[in-house]
Structures are given as structure tokens and as C-alpha cells.
Amino acid sequence: MHAVYKETFFIEGGDFSRAGAAASRVKQILKEIGLEAQYIKRAVIIAYEAEINVVSYAHRGQMSLAVSPSSIEILVEDTGPGIEDIELAMQEGYSTATDWIREMGFGAGMGLPNIKKNSDQLQIDSKVGSGTRLLAKVHIREPGGKQ
């Protein structure tokens, strides 16, 4: 892909006071680029859920946003415990969140499924004890035309 816009945001694990900041920047940038609302909404959901996952489970991570005329790419890489069973983690309702995280209304086992629903392509690689890499793509289709 030939990115016309690229930016990387840092995410601190465990810091819920800043959670959503990266997703908020993603939204702002995509709006400035002037993308259609449906693409922005999907990318923002992906960015927010991925950011919350880093905040909830990882030590730290970073999110890179790359936008081209044909796609929005969100790459999130973290240093942390990793995901033992990705297939299980993708199941709606499955979560390893602590009680404290659940009390805030997170950890309902909806994050990864939400990401999947809103992505045209999704790839998750994880190494237990090391970290997780998530790459999600949203395809931008020209109105009534080619992809």
C-alpha cells in the first residue's frame, strides 16, 4: 500500500486515564482526511478496542495508522503477556479480564469480536510472555466503483 498518511501513537499499559487517546487521534485524522463516516466509524471501533486491550493487558504498546486511497490500516504491537489461544480469545464473551476491569464495563469479551466485525482483513500474531501484534485493514471502496 502507498500510504498517504502515517502516524504512530504510544499506548501505556494499565493507564485507563488516557485510554481512548489514540483512538481519538485516529478519528480526528480520518475526519481531516475527509473519509466517509462509515469508514471512520469502523476504524475508530478497531482502534479503540485494540487500544483498550493494550491498556487492559499489556505493559505498553504502539498503534500505527496508515491511510492510503484504498485502505485504512491499523497496526497495534504490544509488549506483554501475549494471547495463549487466539481462537478462544476471538469468541464473543470470552475474557481474561480482572474483576476491576470488568467493573468498569470492560472485559466483556467483546473487544476482539468487535475488531473482527469491523475489519475487512485481520491478522493477529501473539507470543506468550512476549507480546501481541494485530493488523486490521478497512478497505475503502469508491462510491459505485472499483475497490
Binding site: S24, A37, E49
Partner: protein
């Protein structure tokens, strides 16, 4: 229906952004799970919840919600208030529980995601 009409009809206390009550309310959504709101709420919706921590502000702002109604007289935390000021998110408090708030909104003609009309 404008947000200030809802505030008057339900006797809500506005804790942030009194100057933003002129907004049209497009619908409403009830949930205490943040991912659920991310997935289902639409821009212009009122969000009814018992969560009071500051992450509700990010969820409301990211989804361009009309405002957040905190139920059972639950007050926003200090961090929530200051973040709402920064982001311009309307926070309101109802003394009533979720069921009553939602019921009154429905009676006023406000509908949810799958509601008719």
C-alpha cells in the same frame, strides 16, 4: 427532540456542558458495557448508564453521542467531569433507575437502534 427538552421532561441535572443542550437527540442506547456501546450506539444517541468513570467520556466522544445520562443519582467522578469539559461531552444525572429513564424516553418518542419510527 432537543436535548434540553429531555433534560426538562426528566428533571435531569446537567453536570457538564450546559451550553450544548441545543443538540438534537437521535435515539438512545442503554448499556453498562463500553464495548457494547462502541458497537451499537449511533451518533446523536443518548447513552444511559451507571458507569461514572472517565472512560465513558472517550466512548461518548468517539461515537459523537448527544450525551450521557447517569442513573440512580450516581455522580460523575472528578476525572470524568474534567475530561467531559475538555471533550465537550454532556453529562447528566437522573435520580431514577435505568428502567424508568428508558421508559420515559420511549414515551417521549425516542427510539433505540431497532425501534420503529
Amino acid at each position: 427532540m432537543k436535548l434540553h427538552e429531555v433534560v426538562d421532561a426528566l428533571g435531569l441535572k446537567v453536570r457538564c456542558c450546559q451550553d450544548r443542550l441545543d443538540r438534537e437527540v437521535g435515539g438512545a442506547y442503554v448499556s453498562d458495557l463500553l464495548s457494547d456501546v462502541m458497537a451499537r450506539a449511533r451518533a446523536g444517541d443518548l447513552w444511559i448508564t451507571l458507569q461514572t468513570h472517565l472512560n465513558i467520556v472517550a466512548v461518548a466522544a468517539l461515537n459523537d453521542l448527544a450525551g450521557v445520562v447517569l442513573v440512580n443519582g450516581r455522580e460523575p467522578e472528578q476525572g470524568t467531569l474534567s475530561k467531559a469539559q475538555d471533550e465537550g461531552v454532556v453529562l447528566m444525572v437522573s435520580e431514577e433507575p435505568t428502567f424508568e429513564v428508558a421508559g420515559k424516553l420511549y414515551q417521549m418518542g425516542i427510539r433505540g437502534v431497532h425501534g420503529p419510527g
